[in-house]
Amino acid sequence: MKTNTSQNLTWQEWLKVQMEKLAANRKILPILVVAGLILSFAIPQFHLLNDYVILIIIYVGINIILSTSLNLINGYMGEFSVGHAGFMAVGAYIAAILTTQLIPDNLAIWLFPLVVIIAGCGAALIGLVVAIPSFKTRGDYLAIVTLAFLMIVKSVIENIEAIGGPRGIPGISKLSTLPWTFIWVVIAVAVIRNFVYSKYGRGVLSLREDEIASDLMSVNTKQVKLLSFIISSFFAGVAGALFAHILQFISPRVFDIVKSTDILIMMYLGGIGSIAGSIIGAVIFTVLLEVLRPLGMWRMVLMPLVLVLLMIYRPLGIMGMRELRWFVPGYELVASKLWRKNKGVDHVES
């Protein structure tokens, strides 16, 4: 370990400086993405990691998509949706039906991206339907709308014999490979990040602060809500499609209220209104569940305790309402720097 550099810094200070440099360096993110992409191809090719670790990484990727997309509704827009697993189910079922019943196996590998997009679109369409009640209902009442939606999706799937009913769909090809998962994670994070920092994104944020006020400030609240729900459910559908093609089996039970709760926990653990937070939350949640395996039954006792303690000490989640500078557009950073200078605020956590 490097402890002291020539400037006589303790290693903590040195680390801090380095971290500051790292966080401010805007080239890191593209480098990480490219490195990740190369790694995602290299790892399965050269067996750098064993199958178990690869599986967990894919789970992490899917969970990142889920928590980031949920963050759009629950974090940025400030609603409380508990129906995310429902959108996931729609995407998973559409994709699974396409690859098992309609598309021949040899084509499925090539058409998989298209399948995922169709699955996402299907989920987005359903998201549109759920968005409509959100024009009038808010808060806890909207939570119930999404909860009822989840129950309806589950009940409908259970009743359609053609898609297996409660028995689900077995024998789905394993098409969610590491590269595809990685690419979809990058797409999801990029789209949601761009949306949040776009004109509509401002509208989303203003909705969280005050719906009536933003309406008065001529934010088209309906349009903003529709868009957010569509984007959020699209990526939930994408995650569902990936999930179906890594598990190779789906049943309505997979997408129950417990799954929704898991996504909620991941997202709030990471922090509302933060993309970096959602990523951290998904990583910690997924990996912690695996690492704590030796605890047996106590694992599921410890997990919620960790969550409760974390919420008490960091009520907004790990990254609540803050963002890693990598994800913030440059002009925004410049603006906040100027603002700080004018205000004379010397340190605001970015």
Partner: protein, 390 residues
């Protein structure tokens, strides 16, 4: 940049710990066997029985000095993983056992909805997986080709078999003409048996007058039972778990329903009688074995289990124990501790005398051939009533 440090630090620690829990252990003299069980999640009782029976099976072997494979005594090392009642965790638990713990075979998961994803992992990793309790025909089949999977076996009946057995029993022994069914529509096991029961019952001249459903977690069945009462059935079939059946029967009695009830192997826990009190008296269900007419193997198992855990074993415990028995036999006839050899031996097991009766595997199929018995609830015991063959 505290948070960045935290972020990177946490990821680093987690990746390290995840890859550290593997590691090559001492290969010599031990056989590693993995269990994936539903210890937490929606069916913890199933997981608990599975774990108990697994620990007992392994302890018996180790106390006897180990399992003799190819002239060498091996101690057995057991790894029990929880799948938290989730399909994705079943897959990751199975994968962990295969890659990190390097097990020679996996027993479990039990419910079909968890066994199927785990079986896909086992199949692609070429490791034998025996699901003690999964009854869905699809568990051991490759859904694409409808051919049997090579590495996946089970110890239980499959749904069609049991549905037929009970339907025939209702028609022939109980002389029932009108049957009612109440089952959990959200659970694959219950629905599978209910469907095959209905099909067989109607093919053979009976009518199913009421075909009512509920959803997992419901405790109030009054609406469905009132409806069933209206149709006046001769017999009511409840292919549901032993924790739900007592409620259904008690509520039916409260509504004044007098028709006899029939059940499937999911009734087969002595807990049923504790939970039911006197309400279940005289009713029938199909299962794998009868405790009162038990073979010496079964009697010994029941005795040991009761002594060790303080309650009588249910069907999951018995089937898990048999899955281990199958595995021991396969290991012995394989003559070496090797995944591929175990598979070879598994598919060729000619006959196995287990706690749940005699079973054998047809070449190329993961489903055992075994017979069923019909038991009747009498006092605080299940009493043999009839034999039923496939």
């Amino acid at each position: 940049m505290k948070k960045l440090a935290l972020f990177l630090g946490v990821i680093l620690v987690l990746t390290m710990s995840i890859s550290a829990c593997g590691g090559a252990g001492g290969q010599a003299q031990t056989i590693k066997v993995g269990v994936v069980a539903e210890l937490t999640g929606d069916i913890p009782a199933v997981g608990a029985s599975c774990k108990n029976a697994a620990e007992m099976a392994v302890q018996e072997i180790n106390d006897a000095g180990g399992l003799e494979v190819g002239g060498q005594k091996y101690q057995v090392e057991l790894f029990v993983e929880d799948n938290a009642g989730k399909a994705d965790q079943s897959a990751s638990a199975a994968q962990k056992l295969i890659t990190q713990q390097n097990v020679v075979a996996i027993i479990g998961p039990n419910a079909s909805r968890y066994a199927i994803p785990a079986s896909e992992i086992a199949e692609s990793s070429k490791v034998v997986l025996i699901s003690p309790w999964s009854t869905n025909p699809k568990t051991t089949l490759d859904a694409k080709t409808d051919l049997p999977k090579k590495y996946v076996f089970r110890a239980a009946f499959i749904d069609p078999f049991q549905g037929r057995v009970i339907a025939k029993f209702a028609l022939d022994n109980l002389k029932a003409k009108k049957a009612a069914v109440l089952f959990d529509v959200a659970s694959d096991y219950n629905k599978g048996i209910a469907e095959f029961f209905k099909a067989t019952f109607e093919e053979n001249g009976g009518t199913v007058v009421a075909y009512e459903t509920y959803t997992t977690g419901d405790k109030d069945f009054s609406a469905q039972l009132t409806k069933i009462k209206e149709t006046g059935p001769d017999v009511i079939f409840l292919p549901n778990y032993y924790s739900e059946v007592p409620l259904q029967i008690q509520q039916a009695h409260r509504l004044g329903i007098e028709a006899p009830f029939l059940g499937s192997d999911s009734w087969g826990s002595s807990e049923l009688i504790t939970l039911c009190g006197t309400d279940c008296e005289g009713y029938y269900f199909s299962t794998h074995y009868a405790a009162d007419a038990a073979t010496p193997v079964a009697t010994k198992f029941i005795e040991n289990y009761t002594q060790k855990y303080g309650n009588t074993p249910d069907d999951v415990a018995a089937l898990t124990y048999d899955s281990f028995g199958l595995l021991w036999q396969a290991l012995q006839s394989a003559g070496k501790v090797d995944r591929e050899a175990v598979r070879e031996a598994m598919s060729k097991i000619p006959a196995f005398e287990g706690v749940t009766g005699n079973m054998s595997f047809q070449a190329g199929s993961g489903d055992p051939i075994k017979s069923a018995v019909i038991l009747q609830v009498k006092g605080d015991k299940f009493v043999w009533f009839a034999n039923a063959n496939p």
